[in-house]
Symmetry: C2
Subunit: 218 residues, 2 copies
């Protein structure tokens, strides 16, 4: 019996590539490329930080990754533009179906559980159309352990005061859905990009192309 | 005063993309692509395993990554071909200058320190031209903690019985060189592909395009 719906934010509720327009306005013809490298490197950098020890918050990781993306594309990132692009991360677009699905699940506790530090994830959710549909925001920054470590999922579970199998966890990111499945949450992989499954012995319980899928399940 | 030269294996001493020919012979016109995805996924998978907990040895990770690469490229991987390609990993080619450099450093302890499990790294080194120039092989599998965790580097250091700054560690992999630098080894990044540096506050002490660079240093 599912009591809480726990959603990853970046890539799952919010389109991280909606920063593309902001990147494009600063660096014409390079917006798509910079946006893609930015996200890819952001994930690599918090993996690296977590593995090396010496936790650094998500805003710092995100800024480091942006600088890498610009350097890779051979463009100078002025301080003012850097701030503007970092701000774009506080105004990511929701995927189309998100508000509708959240509204239809109002009998469950609806939670955002993100690697984003409070300074990034709270303004993002609060300023978006779903803020009235979200009962709670949990940041991995509170325990300074990034998903997909078991410690991160255990922290979220503890905050919710539930049993593992009373949580349905949703993410588009395979590294996240593998971590959550391995931890013991029920999981639904929101495979927005129609990626192929990972060839690991840990698999999500469900897979859907968007969040509408979970309405069948509940 | 450097007392031990510690070398990463995959990508640093040995060219992981020398499996391309074997991949090509099994899957014509797809060798390069499969080889590239194989390596990229291999790294992602041991990062993921390390972060999720529940360590799995490098041979299993490597096999999972090969299966992913083949599935991505839409080809069927027969059991026999899988074994053949896994065997190719035991016969990787040395980079051109490796034997010469190792021979010239015979006054130092020369060590291979790899994430490869014993069943992969020992046959690779033993059957290659440098086996007489390597004094010791250390596998992260002995402690079941992958680089770039501090625990992995600490294990190697403990095995060597040296102080951190008595070790010069070399890797082409930025995730590895960052981990080793952060741990406190002296480090030389062997930047074979002329990649740009990571935009992190941890940087290698030296950077060279191949191993000849360390001869200037010593």
């Amino acid at each position: 019996m599912i009591k809480a719906l726990v959603f990853d934010a970046y890539g799952t509720l919010y389109d991280v590539h909606s920063v593309k327009a902001a990147c494009e306005s600063v660096f014409p013809d390079k917006g798509e490329k910079i946006s893609a490298i930015w996200r890819e490197k952001q994930v690599k950098y918090f993996f690296q930080r977590q593995l090396m020890g010496g936790y650094r918050p998500f805003d710092e990781v995100t800024r480091d990754a942006l600088r890498y993306a610009c350097r890779t594309e051979g463009v100078d990132l002025e301080t003012e533009d850097e701030e503007r692009l970092m701000m774009a991360y506080l105004n990511l677009e929701l995927f189309e179906e998100v508000a509708d699905v959240l509204e239809k699940c109002s009998d469950k506790q609806r939670v955002v559980f993100s690697n984003g530090s409070e300074s990034m994830i709270v303004p993002l959710v609060e300023s978006s159309d779903i803020h009235t549909h979200i009962d709670r925001i949990i940041s991995a920054d509170e325990i300074k352990q990034y998903k997909p470590t078991p410690a991160a999922y255990a922290y979220a579970l503890d905050q919710l005061g539930l049993k593992r199998d009373e949580v349905l966890f949703m993410s588009s990111n395979t590294w996240d859905i593998m971590g959550a499945s391995s931890f013991g949450f029920q999981t639904a992989w929101i495979n927005r990009n129609k990626d192929q499954p990972e060839t690991l012995d840990v698999q999500p319980d469900q897979a859907y192309t968007d969040l509408y899928g979970i309405l069948e399940l509940l």
